[in-house]
């Protein structure tokens, strides 16, 4: 046809998607705020359950903070593709001429920016609430920045597989929690080492390696999961 024009390149299409997802999230700020409020609420529960002795809390602090970060990431991962699936946008995304691998990466990046990044940035506040020693806070933030990105990518796989189900919430937890464990192990170990005065860098490096692996492989699984969910 005479008026045929070229589709936008992958890069600019992904930037458009990223912007679209971020604006959609900004128009519904409660969805951004909820994971942070959840984090705050659960942190506040621990002194009630374990007793308010500061030194006892400080012992558990690395594990507590990481588990809550993991759960709040889990809570939001279900929503990554759901509304797009329901209104038909997902079909259109699958038919787009640009590679789905990169589009999916843009969706996950948007999800990480509004959950993981914010969570990592506010985590020092919560860390002080349960008396995490100050020298470990930098490692906590760094670990969360790397770790939550892995969680977003892995959570995306679960979201893609369960997006066609009416109630995928519980199933998604069962599917992806096992894959969250390595992140939890190395993330909290990094913080514990920092408290004890040992170098935390090896643990952060392992988290970084996990992130590289997840960036390379998770989009493949997410893309396949989305195709299966839309096909069914």
């Amino acid at each position: 046809m005479s008026r045929q024009r070229r589709a936008p390149g992958t890069g600019s299409f992904c930037l458009t998607l990223l912007r679209r997802q971020l604006i959609l999230a900004a128009r519904r700020p409660i969805e951004i705020g909820n994971p942070l409020l959840f984090f705050a609420m659960v942190v506040a529960l621990f002194p009630l359950g374990l007793g308010p002795a500061p030194d006892k809390l400080a012992d558990f602090a690395p594990g507590i903070l990481w588990i809550i970060a993991l759960l709040s990431s889990l809570l939001t991962s279900d929503t990554v593709f759901r509304s797009d699936f329901e209104d038909g946008s997902l079909e259109q995304l699958l038919l787009a001429p640009q590679p789905l691998y990169m589009s999916v990466l843009a969706y996950i990046a948007a999800h990480w920016l509004i959950t993981g990044l914010l969570l990592a940035l506010v985590s020092p506040l919560f860390a002080l609430m349960i008396k995490l020693p100050e020298q470990a806070i930098g490692v906590l933030v760094g670990g969360l920045l790397l770790g939550t990105a892995v969680l977003s990518l892995v959570g995306g796989i679960g979201a893609a597989l369960t997006v066609g189900l009416k109630r995928g919430g519980m199933l998604i937890s069962l599917l992806i929690l096992p894959f969250y464990m390595p992140v939890l192990i190395f993330g909290s170990a990094a913080v514990q080492n920092a408290i004890a005065g040992y170098p935390a860098a090896p643990y952060l490096a392992i988290l970084g390696a996990m992130l590289c692996l997840a960036i390379a492989l998770a989009p493949l699984a997410i893309a396949a999961g989305l195709r299966i969910s839309v096909d069914a």
């Binding site: 045929q4 589709a7 600019s12 998607l17 679209r20 259109q92 699958l94 640009q98 589009s103």
Partner: protein
């Protein structure tokens, strides 16, 4: 119709067969869609029209027999409007996930005007009715540069004058060298040759 060489086909399907729930919907369906063809898929509810369109578009990849080859960029409009309630009609079109060519503001405005949404460009889509959501989706047809259109019930929830305009658009698209495969329960009122694809018998004029 004059038989064109198969190389010019925008879409060709060979030996398509589909079974759903133990019922055979169609079998050994082979056809090619050439530029300038306006094809309407015929059949009652449940005959497999939507399933066929989804196979042709590439959304269904498994569970059917035969093969489909697409030789040109396509535009697929399904049952869902793919309109985000939190975005305005203008944003919906400008940032559409289908990844077609980028559109200027002016093009989007004129497309929205042509589907009767003049003045609604910048209101949140959640304040629009279901029919208006469909119209936002139809505005993509005015913006599209894809030669091949696969339209699933494009007239649903569209009023009479809207249907007439849409028919005009369909004709101008096929006259311009595009091709359309569509489903609709209403007969098309167009001064153009409509070919009917029967799920039982294949393509016939």
């Amino acid at each position: 119709m004059p038989t064109e060489s198969a190389g010019a086909a925008l879409l060709s399907a060979a030996g398509l067969s589909l079974e759903r729930g133990g019922r055979e919907l169609f079998r050994d369906l082979s056809f090619a869609v050439q530029p300038g063809q306006l094809v309407q898929i015929e059949g009652p509810n449940g005959a497999g029209k939507t399933s066929l369109l989804r196979i042709l578009a590439g959304l269904s990849r498994y569970g059917f027999g035969g093969s489909v080859q697409r030789h040109a960029p396509q535009l697929y409009l399904g049952h869902h409007a793919a309109v985000k309630a939190l975005l305005t009609p203008r944003e919906n079109l400008a940032w559409h996930v289908a990844g077609e060519c980028a559109h200027s503001d002016l093009e989007i405005e004129s497309a929205l005007e042509r589907v009767g949404l003049y003045g609604y460009e910048d209101v949140p889509s959640m304040t629009l009715s279901a029919g208006q959501h469909r119209r936002v989706n139809l505005a993509r047809l005015y913006l599209s540069s894809s030669p091949l259109w696969l339209l699933d019930e494009p007239f649903t929830a569209i009023d009479k004058s809207g249907v007439a305009e849409l028919e005009q658009l369909l004709v101008s698209h096929v006259e311009g060298g595009g091709a359309i495969v569509m489903t609709s329960h209403q007969p098309l009122q167009v001064a153009y040759r409509v070919e009917y694809l029967s799920l039982r018998a294949g393509l016939a004029a």
